[in-house]
């Protein structure tokens, strides 16, 4: 056994001179990324959370005592957990047929479908809330349809209710759920269902006992990500929620920005982190169950009960329903994702000083004035440059770290990766406030470098997750062969590893760019004179209705789709599989 382990270690790290070994060690290669994210994300975060145990300059738990004594706190926390769980469940149900459709699609159709799924994910959240407000309005299309079909007797206040919050949050988070789920479903061998069928399993039985259990891990990953992001939702519940729909992130923001009580908001952020971590452990356990089931071990009692009761009824459904059911479901999911984008597009062609749907009249005035207005064009250029720099930093640091982690010990790689993705998976508002304090302390707030560094810190983890999988797909024996032929470590990296992972680097760069480009919350706090496009959109709608954000959003949709299509086409021309991951303030 020990000999086997030794052999494995030798396989991972061939005999090299000490310096070369050090170069290849995960610690050294991952160190730049860890230091960077540590300084610009983890340290500020820890400092902010520490405020939660400080009162009048002294160590104290009084902030937590205040929280525990507040009935409002528990009610809002409970409501927030309920909202996060509900949105997670809705996202999983809607994401599954769409992700399944992606695994079935081939060639150009697949690229198009992925582009359509990602399209809303890359649109500014503030513009989309206005689109949903128009769709769900009492005099809006949804109410018109419901009353027209006789489903309700009179229009309902959908755009200011828990329903509105759930719809808006689902729309923001569904693309993430679809892509995460899809990356898992892609790994399931489709031949397994054919084999199950040849052994006498019905279509339903093959799906339920072979395919579904193997997708449990991907479902858990998607659920974890959606749940955490839903927990920190701020913009959507503030805009589409009802009078009684106060959620936790709103309380945190209120304490931090209106009342300037950072001690209490720090304590609240700690609560938020705990709330985020506990279900993640549950999902991790579920992932293990899914993995066991995938290896052919015991299937849960619940599944057996399902097989005895529901499955026979499902078996009796006509085959055509199964053949077309998931396609129709996927089409409806796409329609749900794209409907607000069409409204945004319509806004952009409406009167300049109105945001109404349908527009009172159609005009290109909004495009003419926005495109000739430096106060829009400068932020646009700025956002492009900052996002390019962010993508460059994140790709360089992330590639080194990903290579080091892939060739290093699994436990260290897992721990280090977890640390790097903290800024991606935590509520953006918490990261933004903590970085805001940090940037002011070191005197860089309001500068371009503050924005670039802060955004890059949240991109590094994203790049590492994408590249880790790609680097692991590179056969280590090729590296061994090159080493045995006398290649130095530097030459090995330059002439062997780099060309092999080049498509992955391009894809990681593109995702890093998009992630930074659409960042609203962090630059909102630290931008100063260097306003970026998402911030400009947010600020423009503070005191006046204007179609300019819709104009910019419509242009961005076109640009971002082009960029994404190029990246996906590139990845599709290789054998590399790209997992997708991302964060979004909801």
């Amino acid at each position: 056994m020990a000999a086997t382990r030794r052999h494995e270690r030798q396989a991972r790290a061939p005999r090299l001179p000490r310096l070369r070994l050090a170069l290849a060690s995960p610690i050294l290669l991952g160190l730049p990324a860890l230091i960077f994210v540590g300084v610009f994300a983890i340290w500020p975060l820890a400092d902010f959370l520490f405020q939660g145990v400080i009162a009048k300059g002294e160590f104290s738990f009084i902030q937590f005592q205040r929280l525990l004594a507040s009935t409002t706190f528990f009610i809002v926390l409970g409501r927030t957990l309920l909202a996060a769980v509900t949105v997670t469940a809705i996202c999983l149900v809607l994401a599954y047929p769409m992700a399944f459709a992606l695994t079935k699609a081939r060639g150009g159709l697949k690229t198009v479908l992925i582009g359509l799924v990602v399209l809303p994910y890359l649109t500014s959240v503030i513009v989309r809330t206005y689109a949903w407000a128009a769709l769900l309005a009492i005099e809006g299309p949804v109410n018109d349809a419901l009353t027209g079909l006789g489903l309700v007797s009179e229009p309902m206040l959908l755009g200011h209710s828990d329903f509105g919050t759930y719809v808006g949050m689902t729309h923001i988070l569904l693309p993430i759920a679809v892509l995460t789920l899809w990356s898992g479903l892609e790994k399931i061998d489709p031949l397994q269902r054919t084999v199950a069928a040849s052994l006498g399993a019905s279509r339903v039985e093959a799906f339920l006992t072979v395919f579904l259990p193997q997708s449990a891990a991907a479902m858990a990953s998607a659920a974890s990500l959606v749940y955490i992001l839903a927990l920190g939702a701020y913009v959507i519940p503030a805009t589409l929620g009802g009078t009684r729909g106060l959620l936790f992130a709103q309380l945190v923001v209120e304490q931090a920005t209106s009342l300037l009580n950072w001690n209490l908001s720090g304590a609240m952020a700690v609560v938020m982190l705990v709330a985020a971590a506990l279900p993640a452990l549950v999902f991790a356990a579920l992932r293990k169950v899914g993995a066991r089931a995938g290896r052919g071990r015991a299937v849960g009692r619940g599944q057996a009960l399902f097989a005895r009761t529901v499955q026979p009824a499902l078996d009796r459904l006509p085959d055509a329903l199964w053949t077309w059911g998931w396609r129709i479901a996927a089409a409806l999911v796409l329609a749900f994702l794209l409907a607000p984008e069409l409204v945004v597009f319509a806004f952009s062609f409406g009167p300049e000083r109105q945001i109404t749907f349908p527009p009172a009249f159609f005009t290109l005035d909004g495009y003419a004035s926005t495109l000739s207005d430096p106060s829009w064009m400068q932020p646009l250029k700025r956002s492009v440059v900052y996002a390019l720099l962010d993508a460059l930093i994140a790709t360089a640091l992330g590639a080194l770290a990903a290579y080091g982690f892939a060739r290093g010990k699994a436990a260290f790689a897992a721990a280090a990766t977890a640390l790097l993705v903290v800024p991606v998976v935590l509520p953006e508002i918490v990261i933004a406030i903590s970085y805001f304090i940090f940037a002011n302390r070191i005197g860089i707030a309001g500068t371009a470098e503050a924005i670039v560094l802060g955004q890059a810190a949240s991109c590094v983890g994203l790049v590492v997750v994408i590249l880790s999988t790609i680097v692991r797909q590179v056969d280590v024996n090729i590296e061994h062969a090159a080493t045995m032929c006398g290649a130095s470590r530097a030459r090995l990296l330059k002439e062997i590893v780099l060309p092999l992972i080049a498509p992955g680097l391009v894809v990681a760069f593109v995702y890093g760019f998009l992630h930074a480009f659409d960042n609203l919350v962090l630059p909102l706090f630290i931008a100063g004179t260097n306003v970026t496009v998402p911030v400009r959109m947010f600020l423009a709608l503070q005191e006046e209705l204007t179609s300019a954000p819709a104009v910019i959003a419509s242009l961005l949709i076109a640009v971002l789709v082009l960029g994404l299509t190029a990246a996906l086409t590139l990845s599709r021309t290789t054998s590399l599989k790209i997992p997708l991951l991302g964060g979004k303030d909801a």
Binding site: T243, S258, L260, Q354, N440, G443, T447, Q542
Partner: protein
């Protein structure tokens, strides 16, 4: 030298500065030398910010001093000021639109300079002093009214009083109100006025009376996060009436939206914000010079016009420049002196029960209402 030039070459400088910042040396706050012929002005967002930016261009054209604006949103203005105070890192010379609650929290930290009025015109200073708009280190830079606005559903039977606003029998349908921040005190004060309280004697707030009114109409309340969203709700038919900050309401009307202001406007509460001088990057003189120029009546007239008459410094020197029609919906115009009142910032900034400010207590009660 720290500048805020956004012209050509800025991205190259960004790269260079970025490289510098990546070094550990950047973790030490850099020294900031005073710039010549430049001033940085912090201001609010939206139409207000656009108006300030336009006037900054005039300032540069007239004086040759490069004036740069920094836009702050309601979300981060107070927090940024507090951080500037705590860290001593002030990146602006003058801040417009600062709430006195924020000023009260931060004035002890030594980042503000006093106001030097020696370069002011006598008439301008006298007008400001007469209207009690200026102190040693704080002056009122804007009054913004919270106006009642109604949509086409009430075109035949428009609401007239704040009692009407909360009367769901006489005026069925949803009404829009602010969801958070300093909009909440306005929600509560209007509820108190609707309950029959004398507008001149609202403080200390009678929370029980206010929430009794709000509870009655809770299911008919639609909350907005920013004033334009409240206007969009009104246009979309989600509400039949709302209160809205004047710039958003007046801009929507000017843009042809099918909404109207309820009369009489003089019953509106106004939100009064101030201007402070900071010990900023360009030296105290840069801020003082801008400050004296900013309060000139002709510049204030332009500022008001650019905000569609939504924002005014309520000095007679400024107000007398407007026609009766323009003044009609300005509660601070003098047309409705009996009803002109501003939010009681002194009250909200003062410490109430449990060592919290009255604003914190008010928001806490509001959150309780929303959590029910």
């Amino acid at each position: 030298m720290k500048t805020h030039d956004a012209k050509a070459g800025w991205h190259r400088r960004t790269l260079i500065r970025l490289a510098g910042t990546l070094g550990l040396a950047a973790l030490v706050a850099p020294g900031v030398a005073a710039a010549q012929n430049a001033v940085v002005v912090a201001h609010a967002a939206g139409i207000n910010g656009q108006a300030v930016e336009a006037i900054l261009k005039d300032y540069t054209a007239e004086t040759g001093v490069k004036a740069t604006g920094i836009t702050m949103s309601d979300t981060d203005y107070g927090a940024k000021m507090q951080l500037a105070a705590r860290t001593g890192n002030v990146d602006f010379d003058v801040a417009l639109g600062v709430g006195s609650d924020v000023f009260a929290l931060t004035k002890g930290d030594g980042i503000y300079a006093g106001i030097d009025t020696s370069g002011w015109k006598k008439e301008t200073l006298a007008g400001m002093q007469e209207a009690k708009l200026i102190g040693d280190d704080y002056a009122v830079s804007q009054d913004t009214a919270a106006l009642m606005v109604y949509g086409k559903a009430l075109a035949d039977n428009p609401p007239k009083t704040w009692g009407d606003f909360f009367d769901t029998k006489k005026y069925p349908g949803n009404r829009g109100m602010a969801s958070g921040g300093l909009g909440v005190p306005i929600d509560i004060e209007y509820a108190l006025i609707a309950s029959g309280k004398d507008p001149a004697k609202l403080y200390p707030l009678d929370y029980d009376a206010a929430f009794a009114v709000l509870d009655k109409v809770a299911k008919d309340i639609v909350l907005w996060d920013n004033a334009p969203k409240g206007i969009q709700d009104l246009v979309n038919g989600d509400t039949v009436m709302t209160w809205s900050y004047a710039p958003a309401a007046l801009s929507a009307i000017a843009a042809g939206q099918d909404i109207k202001l309820a009369a009489p406007p003089g019953t509106a509460v106004t939100r009064q914000l101030g201007v402070v001088m900071a010990k900023g990057p360009n030296g105290e003189d840069a801020g003082q010079a801008f400050f004296a120029w900013w309060f000139r009546p002709e510049n204030q007239k332009k500022y008001t016009e650019l905000t569609n008459y939504g924002i005014v410094v309520p000095s007679q020197e400024v107000l007398k420049q407007f026609s009766p029609e323009q003044s009609a919906y300005m509660p601070f115009s003098g047309a409705h002196p009996e009803n002109y009142r501003t939010l009681g910032y002194d009250y909200y900034s003062a410490e109430g029960d449990l060592g919290q400010s009255n604003l914190a207590l008010t928001l806490d009660r509001w959150n309780q209402f929303r959590a029910r």
